[in-house]
């Protein structure tokens, strides 16, 4: 399994935001994408996920098991700005839905919310949670179904220091498990031994 970007270019609203981005990520490796606001971090992630077309270059994905993961999208968890959770449903109902919809059950619901340190909230409506708690439940969503690639867009937005550390440990465990992480962030994620890519934007 390998994720490769070759001379990748992206545009937003018809304006080019970056071009000639190259990287290669192997199992157990992480890639931290940093850069100023507007340098195209989110756009890059959305192109990698396949939500946006690349304006030039290509994303290549080589999976050992092409049956199960025919594309990057199929092999990825995408954690965007939105948490993809419904405020009217309980935390458990939300996670249960994503587990059933995504398939490839990994951790149990209880186990996953235990991992993000919120075991008490399972039966509460998602809307009652604070911003940071919501983000943590959204992170728990990465754990309830298995995907080898995690595409994370500002994953630690709204998290406190303790939760950041906790999340770093979860990412480390995913990498040690042979997973791949591509994360766009402007806050250090506390992840050692990973590649870095600095987006400079289009001049």
């Amino acid at each position: 399994m390998r994720l490769i970007a070759e001379k990748l270019g992206g545009e937003r609203g018809g304006e080019p935001v970056f071009d000639d981005i190259n990287f290669q990520v192997e199992p157990g490796e992480g890639l931290i994408v940093t850069g100023a606001n507007g340098s195209g971090k989110s756009t890059l992630l959305r192109i990698v996920a396949g939500l946006l077309p690349a304006s030039s270059g290509a994303i290549r994905f080589e999976a050992a098991d092409a049956e199960e993961f025919p594309s990057v999208a199929a092999a990825s968890h995408y954690l965007g700005h939105g948490n993809a959770m419904k405020t009217a449903l309980s935390v458990e109902e939300n996670l249960k839905f994503w587990q059933e919809f995504h398939g490839s059950t990994h951790l149990g619901i209880d186990e996953a919310i235990e991992m993000v340190g919120l075991p008490e909230v399972a039966s509460l409506p998602y809307g009652y949670l604070s911003t940071g708690q919501k983000r943590r439940i959204s992170i728990a969503k990465l754990l309830v179904s298995y995907r080898p690639i995690w595409l994370l867009d500002e994953p630690t937005a709204g998290l406190d220091k303790a939760s950041e550390t906790q999340f770093a440990a979860l990412m480390r465990a995913h990498l040690d498990d042979g997973g791949i992480i591509v994360a766009a962030t402007h806050i250090p994620l506390g992840l050692e031994g990973v590649q870095h890519l600095t987006m400079t934007g289009q001049r």
């Binding site: 340190g117 919120l118 008490e120 604070s130 708690q133 943590r136």
Partner: protein, 251 residues
């Protein structure tokens, strides 16, 4: 309508929901028992009452139709009073009262409309006519549904309370229209025969069962209303406790 005033003045003393719940706990079983007895007596008398020489057996529908219709208006009046409580005195129970009375009022209105239709089919030859009385009661039903939707539109009860109170008060215009529609317009529905300035025109052999039925259904209404208010207070407590639980989770 003296019971209305009595209830609302009692509510006024009970600013504290905890005391209110304790009192309801003590009151409701007796109230339920009383309403069952009065209602049984009223319905029993209604069946023993003479048949109308024109309408035959169908006249018995009157003994439930008229109380339902009265209650549909009384319930709305109570809601309007409670809305005043919300807007003017900001009474904590007033908004609970509006929210929990609306579904009960809607059901009574629907029952009044349904029993009226069943009565109207043999009498008028049609289930429904768009005359002033029927239409205004139908509008009342729509308003009840609107208020129900409004009180449930937001998770936070405090936010929707004032909006619902304002709508309820504006809609109160409809109540006198319903009451006097049979006098103001020439309608198919018969004019008032019980509450009139010159005394009831209905024969006393029918009047008494009707009045006892009305009292019985009113007692049923108050029992249901108090229970619904208690449930609503509990529901709000649960919701508040869950919010606290969410705040303290993961600390």
């Amino acid at each position: 309508m003296s019971e209305t005033a009595a209830t609302s003045s009692k509510l006024w003393d009970l600013a504290n929901p905890t005391r209110f719940v304790a009192l309801v706990d003590r009151f409701v079983p007796w109230l339920a028992l009383l309403s069952a007895i009065v209602l049984a007596a009223g319905l029993g008398l209604a069946f023993a009452a003479p048949e109308d020489y024109q309408q035959g057996i169908t006249v018995r529908i009157m003994y439930i139709h008229v109380p339902f219709a009265w209650l549909s208006m009384m319930c709305y009046s109570i809601m309007a009073l409670s809305s005043l409580g919300t807007l003017v005195w900001r009474h904590p129970l007033a908004d609970v009262s509006v929210k929990s009375a609306a579904p009960i009022g809607a059901v009574f209105t629907l029952l009044a409309l349904a029993t009226g239709s069943i009565w109207g089919k043999p009498m008028w030859g049609t289930w429904w006519v768009w005359d002033a009385r029927l239409t205004s009661v139908f509008v009342l039903f729509l308003m009840y549904l609107g208020i129900i939707a409004l009180t449930r539109a937001l998770d936070d009860p405090g936010k929707s309370a004032r909006a619902a109170a304002i709508v309820t008060l504006v809609g109160f215009i409809n109540i006198p229209i319903i009451k006097f529609s049979v006098d103001w317009w020439n309608t198919l529905h018969q004019p008032a025969s019980v509450i009139r300035l010159d005394g009831p025109t209905i024969h006393s052999s029918m009047l008494w069962p009707l009045l006892i039925c009305a009292v019985g259904f009113s007692l049923v209404f108050f029992t249901l209303h108090l229970m619904a208010m208690r449930t609503e207070i509990w529901r709000r407590r649960v919701s508040a406790m869950r919010k606290i639980a969410a705040r303290e989770a993961g600390r």
